[in-house]
C-alpha cells in the first residue's frame, strides 16, 4: 500500500474548506493514508454530502456501513454510527463521513444525491433499524416483511429469536 498519496495536500485544503463551511458540525477530522475522514453531527449530514459531491467532486458513494456501538466504547455516546464511504473518479480519492445516530432518531437520506444509496440505506434500516428521511421506499431488503427485530444489532441472538426454526 503506497503510503504517500501525492494528492495529500489537496485533501488538506479540502479539509480546511469543510471545517470552515460547517464549523459547528465537524467534530473531528483527520487525513491519514490518503483518506479524508470526518465525523459530523447528524443535522449537518445532508449539506456536507452535497458539498462533498458538488464542490469536492466525490461523485461516487461506494458504501454505507452501519455499526452498533452497544457495549463497546461508544465515542459519541449514541447507539449507532453510520459511515459513508465516498469515492472520487477519476483520481481515486477516498472520503469517510461518520455520523452518530441514536436509537429512535433518523438521518437525512442520501438518495437525492447518490442513486446508489437506495439499497444501502434499506439494508442499514433492515439490519439496524436506522431510519432515513426522504428515502423513496424504505422497506426491509433481506428479511421477510413480517420479520420483527433487526438482526445485526448486538442484542439480537445469532440463532434468531424463533430459534432459527
Amino acid at each position: 500500500m503506497p503510503e504517500d498519496q501525492a494528492d495529500r495536500p489537496e485533501l488538506r485544503e479540502l479539509l480546511a474548506a469543510l471545517a470552515g463551511r460547517f464549523a459547528g458540525a465537524v467534530l473531528a477530522s483527520v487525513v491519514d493514508e490518503g483518506e479524508l475522514s470526518v465525523r459530523l453531527s447528524k443535522d449537518a449530514l445532508a449539506s456536507a454530502l452535497r458539498f462533498l459531491k458538488e464542490e469536492a467532486g466525490f461523485n461516487a458513494l461506494e458504501d454505507i456501513a452501519a455499526f452498533d456501538n452497544l457495549g463497546s466504547a461508544a465515542e459519541g455516546g449514541q447507539r449507532f454510527t453510520v459511515v459513508y464511504r465516498l469515492g472520487k473518479f477519476p483520481g481515486a480519492l477516498r472520503a469517510r463521513v461518520a455520523v452518530d445516530v441514536g436509537e429512535g432518531e433518523s438521518l437525512a437520506s442520501a438518495v437525492p444525491l447518490y442513486r446508489s444509496a437506495d439499497w444501502a440505506e434499506r439494508e442499514a434500516f433492515d439490519m439496524f433499524g436506522v431510519r432515513f428521511e426522504g428515502h423513496p421506499d424504505l422497506r426491509r431488503i433481506y428479511m421477510p416483511d413480517e420479520f420483527e427485530g433487526h438482526p445485526l444489532r448486538k442484542d439480537f441472538p445469532l440463532a434468531g429469536r424463533t430459534g432459527g426454526a
Binding site: F67, S116, I141
Partner: protein
C-alpha cells in the same frame, strides 16, 4: 375493455436469474415498464455470523459470498485485515496471490460467458466455456484440493507454494484457453442474431453509471477506466503491465467484449507474475491467535464482478467487532431497473446476464 399493464413475476426460481433472485416486472405487452428486484432469498446472515468468529475463521466463509470467484473474496478480506493489523506480506506471497486472483478472474469470466450465452439461447457456448473453466478448476484442485470454495488465500499469504510442476501446468492451461476463446468468439462476435440481442440493449450512460455506483466491467463498458488494480494498486499489482479494456456505449455487447478482453489481460498478468516469481517465503508469520488493536479499515480490490470492499472494525479481541462487505453485484443490480426500461421482456434476461451478478454476494 381498456388495456392495462400487468405485472409478471420472474420468481425466486427461474432458469435465468442466476440463483434465487426474484424480479417483479411491470410489463405492457412484453415491453418492460419497470423492474423491481426482491432480495433476501439467500440471506444467510453472514455479517452476524462473522461477529462471533475469529479473524482466521471468517476466511472460509468469504468463499461462500461470490462463490464463482472465491479467491477474490479471500484476497479482499485478508488484505483488509492485514492493513488493520499491520502485517507485512512478503513479495513472493503477493505474487502467488496475484497468480491465484487472476486465475480466479479467468474462471469467473468463463462462467459468466457460459451463463449469459445460455440465457440468450446459444447453449453450446455454455458447454465450451465450462470446459475451459474446468481446466482452471483442475489447477485450483491441484493447488489446494478444492474446486469452487477454494480458501487458498489466508491472512498473511497463501496456503501453499507454487511448485515448478504446478507452474508448468498453469502455463499449459494459459496456452489452451485462448484457443477455446477463439471458437466462442467465432461463434458469437459477428453473429447477426447475437448482435441483434445485445447491441444497444440495456444501455447506460457514464454519468448515470457512476451515480448508480456501477463498478467493474459494467462501468468500463461505458468508457470509464476505473480499475482498482491501476487506481489504488494492492498486492504489488503495479509491478505488472496490463491495460484496462474499455467499451464505448455501455450496452450488453460492450460488457461482453470488455469481459472477453479482460480474460486475455488476466492471462498476460499471470504470465508476467509467473516469470517474475521472486524467492522467499510464500506466507508471513502470523500469530496463531490474532488479536488486533481497536481500529477500523476500509479496503477495496478489483473483483471480477466489480469493486469489492471490506470494512473491518476491531476491538482488541481476537474476534472482529464488525465486518461489512461492499458487494459489487449488490450495487450493480440497482442499475437493472434503469437499464431494462423500454426494452422487451426477453432483453431483461440478456441484461441480467451481462451484469454478471451472484446471489451469494448480494444477499450475504
Amino acid at each position: 375493455m381498456e388495456l392495462r399493464e400487468y405485472d409478471l413475476n420472474m420468481g425466486p426460481q427461474h432458469p435465468s436469474t442466476h440463483g434465487v433472485l426474484r424480479l417483479k416486472l411491470a410489463v405492457d405487452n412484453e415491453v418492460v415498464l419497470g423492474v423491481e428486484p426482491v432480495l433476501g432469498y439467500l440471506h444467510r446472515g453472514m455479517e452476524k455470523l462473522w461477529e462471533s468468529l475469529t479473524y482466521t475463521q471468517v476466511v472460509p466463509l468469504t468463499d461462500r459470498l461470490d462463490y464463482i470467484a472465491a479467491l477474490s473474496n479471500n484476497l479482499g478480506y485478508c488484505l483488509a485485515v492485514e492493513k488493520l493489523a499491520g502485517i507485512e506480506v512478503p513479495k513472493r506471497a503477493r505474487y502467488v496471490r496475484v497468480v491465484l486472483a487472476e486465475l480466479q478472474r479467468l474462471a469467473s469470466h468463463l462462467a459468466w460467458l457460459g451463463f449469459m450465452a445460455n440465457d440468450i439461447g446459444a447453449m453450446s457456448v455454455l458447454l465450451y466455456a465450462f470446459e475451459a473453466r474446468e481446466d482452471v478448476l483442475d489447477l485450483f484442485e491441484e493447488y489446494c484440493g478444492a474446486r469452487l470454495t477454494i480458501h487458498g488465500i489466508r491472512i498473511g499469504g497463501a496456503v501453499r507454494d507454487l511448485d515448478t510442476p504446478l507452474v508448468s501446468r498453469i502455463r499449459a492451461v494459459l496456452e489452451r484457453i485462448p484457443k477455446r476463446l477463439e471458437d466462442v468468439r467465432a461463434l458469437l462476435d459477428e453473429n447477426r442474431i447475437w448482435k441483434e440481442r445485445t447491441v444497444g440493449v440495456g444501455r447506460i450512460a457514464a454519468a448515470a453509471a457512476i451515480d448508480y455506483g456501477l463498478t467493474g466491467p459494467g462501468l468500463r463498458a461505458c468508457g470509464l477506466a476505473w480499475d482498482m488494480r491501476k487506481d489504488i494498486p494492492y498486492s504489488s499489482y503495479d509491478d505488472f503491465a496490463f491495460d484496462v479494456p474499455l467499451g464505448t456505449n455501455g450496452d450488453v455487447y460492450d460488457r461482453y467484449l470488455v469481459r472477453l478482453e479482460e480474460i486475455c489481460q488476466s492471462i498476460r498478468i499471470v504470465g508476467q507474475a509467473l516469470d517474475g516469481l521472486p524467492g522467499g517465503e510464500f506466507t508471513a508469520k502470523v500469530p496463531r491467535v490474532l488479536k488486533i488493536a481497536p481500529g477500523e479499515v476500509f479496503h477495496t480490490i478489483e473483483a471480477p464482478k466489480g469493486v469489492l470492499g471490506f470494512t473491518v472494525r476491531s476491538n482488541g479481541t481476537d474476534k472482529p467487532e464488525r465486518v461489512k462487505m461492499k458487494s459489487p453485484s449488490f450495487i450493480n443490480l440497482q442499475a437493472l431497473d434503469h437499464m431494462c426500461r423500454g426494452n422487451l421482456f426477453s432483453d431483461v434476461v440478456g441484461i441480467l446476464g451481462s451484469l454478471d451478478i451472484v446471489l451469494g454476494e448480494i444477499d450475504k
